[in-house]
């Protein structure tokens, strides 16, 4: 038997191509295409008056200029849906005041960066020249910026949305406030997290080609969901779905922002391509990405918690305000996740959570890696530290006492998760994970180190944070596996890939299931020409969903291969095995004549042929071997070809977990904050590829560090984003990211055939919580807002000295 690949550090088969510059990203395609550029609003809130394009029409190379009026006339003349607001993708009963933007602004703009005019020209330079000559009359309106201003409701983002409130949602397991009131001890905390953003290195981009002969549209877009973009584009352009195909090329990072769809540009570019009968491309630039994509994380939380002498939670009541920006096309996913995943590995006693989702005149909010969990984790872990401090108990002990025990699994919180299904943890061993973390970071020895450092005039601190992450949400994913006549195994799945290593991970699974060498497996993702039904890549779901789907499919294909090979070898299928792509009778040598047959030949035999177009085909033609005249070449219920399609659809999410510990040093003079150590214990069930998993954790930790110490969207009161560039929006460089020390625990999920749980987002979740905990330990005063800069630490020190 060849070595099992599942669980091995198989090097990523994507990398040789990507690291040698041979990736093909959106902007690498369509050099013959026309280019689009947009006139975007310079105001956070304004009515739109006249749009004067007279200066622009002389620009040589200009092809077209479109405003909202053109969408209206198109809708009237061609029956498209372009003049309607973009879809509210995830409706929810509590989302009573959902508002979404139009592809081009309809009379009003609600954030700086909102697209007002679309310009198409021979290239992007000319398109920008023309865009610069278009004059839009704006009548500025007062801007609503920040949670405080939105909450007071004195100014409105949308006139028909009172109090700027899109939704108020409550979940509770009982009277939490009464439980807090009755508890022997209680605390109240106000906790705040600021905005950051996914900020992939490659921004968005769309290329559309209209084939007039075929009356069909081929769209390439840098998305996390090609299948749904396909449906959305067809609906907006009023095209039959089968006339639209969407292909995802290499994607230079997504981190959530590209699961949002259809972006205005994602419908406008195909629409313009069809109108003009020419290929049209738009590649988002960095400034556009800052002001017209999506942000996340901005939330203000008020917590009341009641607990006993031992620090055990009796009641937890959380109220929070979520700033979702100018529109809410992605619905309430982020705050719903915060309100449920805040609980982490703990039993909260009686729990109540209420959130209010507020409009502001800022860029929209959609999930960014972690998707509401970093905020929730920050809240819960700050509460744990506050209880530990108040009770004088070690921070790990307080956590341990509140953990859900392994014997209590599966554990039902009796709340509804983001997918509308039960918040029920499938497995996990939190005390074991914590024990591993304590050992990894040397928790028990730290007090001595802290004292010794203090004696040298140094300030050091340790912190930790624990989280549970619902991963692998449904509704489903599918896989298709086909064995070609040369023995190549072609795998496709509908969800997309943006650098995670899906090609490698899925090939490992299929190679094991089918018994073929890894390098014979080819994986395609995110191409609707290959696979039509899929959901997308988000919520740490690929290994769980597509991993399970391709495993199930490969098993089915294997069954068929065994059946055909058994016929050919005149053996019973139960006596056969597949080794290195050879089907053979168990226990014989792979090369033995008449006792083995390679999978490619099985594929040939699976497809009865009339024409011998090559040597392999000759074996499957009608005169190649005596046939049973009573039997049809294809039996009823069977199909030609060695292939299959299966779908995996779980009843609920699977819940991964992890714990991070951080050691920081803060400079007593300059207030610099340095991370000395960063330790991770991670449990995502069984591990397909530890190297890919560790890469995911490293990247997540980098973003966690960014969110804790560097990144924030600096909005002025008038709604201008002051740091819309990589010079002033501070993503950590490699010089700012610490070495990450990792240990794993594997508690398999009982929910899927592989026992896996998702891992894509995990690394980012506890960053702010753990780093705040460590800074608090070093400084001796509470940290209630993140991110924190040296300048802010300086002012906090001053406050606490006086």
């Amino acid at each position: 038997m060849s070595t099992r690949l599942f669980g091995q550090r198989v090097p990523r088969s994507e990398d040789p191509r990507l690291v040698t510059g041979n990736g093909r990203y959106l902007d690498d395609l369509g050099h013959d295409a026309l280019a689009a550029a947009f006139v975007r609003s310079p105001h956070a809130h304004a009515r739109i008056g006249d749009v004067d394009v007279s200066d622009a029409v002389d620009v040589e190379g200009l092809v077209a200029v479109y405003t909202y009026e053109d969408l209206v006339s198109d809708q009237a003349e061609h029956g498209s849906r372009m003049a309607e607001a973009l879809p509210l993708l995830i409706p929810h009963p509590t989302l009573t005041h959902g508002r979404t933007p139009y592809p081009l602004a309809n009379g009003e703009v609600n954030h700086v960066g909102e697209a007002v005019v679309m310009v198409v020209a021979v290239d992007r330079y000319v398109a920008e020249d023309a865009a610069g000559r278009i004059h839009v009359d704006f009548e500025p309106l007062p801007a609503v910026v920040g949670i405080e201003r939105a909450r007071d409701g004195g100014r409105l983002v949308h006139e028909d949305v009172p109090g700027n409130v899109a939704a108020v949602m409550v979940q509770q397991t009982g009277d939490a406030d009464a439980a807090v009131d009755a508890a022997p001890h209680s605390l109240e905390l106000e906790l705040e997290i600021e905005r950051s953003a996914s900020m992939p290195m490659e921004g968005k981009g769309v290329l559309a080609r209209w084939d007039a002969d075929d009356q069909s549209l081929l769209v390439h877009t840098s998305t996390q969901t090609s299948t749904s973009v396909r449906q959305a584009v067809a609906a907006k352009l009023a095209l039959p779905v089968d006339r639209v195909e969407v292909v995802t090329p290499d994607v230079g990072g997504g981190f959530g922002v590209k699961i949002m769809h259809p972006w205005p540009e994602e419908v406008l570019v195909p629409w313009a391509a069809r109108r003009l009968g020419r290929a049209v491309k738009w590649t988002e630039d960095r400034r556009e990405h800052f002001v017209s994509s999506a942000h996340e994380r901005g939330q203000l939380h008020r917590v009341r918690v009641g607990y006993d002498d031992e620090g055990r939670l009796l009641g937890l009541s959380v109220r929070f305000w979520h700033d979702h920006g100018a529109y809410i096309p992605y619905g309430l996913i982020v705050p719903i996740i915060t309100s449920t995943q805040l609980l982490g590995p703990y039993k909260p006693g009686v729990y109540r959570v209420e959130f209010t989702s507020l409009y502001t005149n800022t860029v929209i909010v959609t999930p960014y890696r972690g998707a509401g969990r970093p905020q929730g984790c920050f809240v819960m872990e700050r509460v744990m530290d506050a209880i530990a401090a108040e009770r004088g108990i070690d921070r790990t002990v307080v956590r341990e006492r509140n953990f859900i025990r392994p014997e209590e699994m599966p554990y039902d919180h009796h709340l509804v998760f983001q997918d509308g299904r039960a918040l029920r943890y499938d497995s996990g061993d939190f005390p074991a994970s914590l024990e591993k973390l304590r050992k990894l970071v040397g928790w028990d020895d730290f007090a001595a180190f802290r004292e010794q450092a203090r004696a040298e005039g140094r300030l050091v601190g340790i912190g930790l944070a624990c989280y549970v992450e619902g991963t692998g949400v449904g509704p489903y994913e599918g896989g298709h596996v086909r064995v070609e006549s040369d023995g190549t195994v072609v795998v496709s799945t509908g969800l997309t890939s943006q650098g995670q290593g899906h090609q490698t991970m899925l090939a490992q699974i299929v190679a094991d299931e089918l018994g073929v060498p890894f390098d014979r497996v080819r994986v395609t993702t995110g191409d609707t020409r290959r696979f039509k039904y899929a959901v997308g890549t988000f919520a740490s779901r690929t290994a769980v969903m597509s991993g399970s789907a391709v495993a199930m499919t490969a098993r089915r294909v294997r069954e068929k291969a065994m059946r055909i090979a058994a016929d050919a070898l005149e053996a019973s299928p139960e006596d056969l095995e597949i080794v290195d792509g050879q089907v053979r009778v168990k226990g014989t040598s792979p090369s033995g004549a008449n006792v083995s047959i390679d999978l490619g030949t099985v594929a040939v035999l699976s497809n009865p042929l009339r024409y011998a177009f090559d040597d392999a085909a000759r074996r499957a033609t009608q005169f190649a071997s005596p046939a049973d005249p009573a039997r049809a070449p294809i039996s009823p219920g069977d199909a030609p070809g060695l292939e299959g399609t299966e779908y995996y659809s779980p009843t609920q999410s699977t819940f991964a977990n992890g714990m991070h510990a951080v050691v920081v040093e803060t400079d007593p003079d300059t207030c610099e904050i340095k991370i000395l150590r960063y330790c991770v214990v991670h449990d995502c069930g069984t591990i397909v590829n530890p190297m890919i998993l560790e890469g995911q954790i490293h990247g997540g930790v980098a973003q966690g560090v960014g969110g804790a110490l560097y990144e924030r969207m600096e909005y002025a009161d008038d709604g201008q984003l002051l740091n819309a560039s990589f010079m002033d929006f501070l993503m950590p460089y490699s010089t700012e990211v610490p070495t990450v020390e990792i240990d794993h625990l594997e508690t398999p999920s009982p929910l899927n055939p592989l026992g896996v749980k998702g891992a894509g987002e995990a690394g980012v979740i506890p960053g702010s919580a753990a780093i705040a905990s460590a800074i608090e330990d070093a400084e001796g005063f509470p940290i209630r807002r993140m991110p924190i800069s040296p300048s802010e630490l300086f002012h906090l020190r001053q406050e606490h000295q006086s």
């Binding site: 920008e128 400034r287 002033d728 501070l730 950590p732 800069s789 040296p790 002012h795």
Partner: protein, 287 residues
């Protein structure tokens, strides 16, 4: 993020370059390393109609280490100056400042003279020029002149270089024997513009007493601030009297709050980093 149309000129001599600058006046910009200008053009915050690329002008490529000064041509890249051992031997402060300028990739393209002319208030090399009694050589089609560092930086993004003028070189004075120097700064991330940066030059006498101590600060005002702190020196040990140091700095710096740091924090940093820079410089002077 595509620049608006411009005409590109590539002169091969300084004469040709200044002639182009004369011809196109305000509508021309000099392109050296392009590390500031090109992003500004891409964001359409600058839209010169003519770019005069001086990278092929042989005469602007030289670094000359003289008896009294180091002369750096306008097309000399930061990284070349940073790595030049003869330069380091003559004026260690050049390398000490340069390693703080952005990242290696930017230093590989960006030029030292270009950085001086750009006059960003946080630019390290402006402080270095001030500390070393430097001079910038300017040439136009009709005239040549030299501007002392103290007169060169007029305000944020504003130098004394006039329309039609090309900064052909900068000269950095060699510090006297018994000198030591240092450059310390604090930025949000490694390579970012500093929230505060301090260059220091300390000269000691035969009894290792401090005969001169100067610092130049960046990031804490409209331009680099040169402060003579000799009077705050407290005896031969290299210590400085803190209240006096603070007082000397306070009158010369005017930090403002921005998204990266408050004015108050910057003022605090100015003192902390000045103390650190003087300490290192004195140690080197005494060595």
């Amino acid at each position: 993020m595509k620049p608006s149309p411009f005409t590109y000129h590539r002169p091969h001599s300084a004469d040709e370059a200044v002639e182009l600058l004369r011809a196109y006046g305000d509508s021309a910009k000099v392109l050296a390393g392009g590390q500031s200008l090109v992003p500004l053009m891409s964001m359409r915050l600058a839209a010169p109609e003519h770019l005069v690329d001086i990278n092929r002008v042989e005469a602007l490529q030289s670094v000359e280490v003289g008896e009294d000064e180091v002369r750096v041509g306008a097309a000399v890249r930061h990284s070349r100056l940073e790595r030049d051992e003869e330069v380091y031997g003559a004026v260690p402060l050049l390398r000490q400042g340069l390693v703080n300028v952005a990242h290696p990739a930017i230093r590989n393209r960006g030029t030292t003279v270009g950085s001086l002319v750009h006059a960003d208030p946080a630019a390290e090399m402006a402080a270095v020029l001030l500390l070393l009694d430097g001079v910038v050589e300017l040439r136009s089609a009709t005239d040549s002149r030299e501007v002392a560092a103290a007169d060169f930086f007029l305000g944020p993004m504003q130098s004394a270089t006039g329309p039609g003028e090309l900064a052909v070189a900068a000269r950095f004075g060699r510090p006297p024997p018994g000198s030591g120097s240092a450059f310390v700064e604090l930025s949000r991330r490694q390579g970012d513009y500093a929230m505060c940066g301090v260059g220091a030059l300390v000269t000691t006498g035969q009894e290792s007493e401090i005969t001169s101590a100067k610092v130049a600060l960046v990031g804490v005002g409209d331009g680099p601030a040169l402060v003579d702190v000799t009077s705050a020196a407290a005896g031969p040990g290299g210590a400085f009297r803190e209240p006096q140091l603070a007082e000397l700095l306070a009158s010369q710096i005017a930090p403002e709050s921005d998204i990266h740091a408050s004015a108050e924090y910057r003022r605090h940093l100015a003192l902390v980093l000045t103390r650190r820079a003087l300490g290192q410089a004195h140690e080197r002077a005494a060595a």
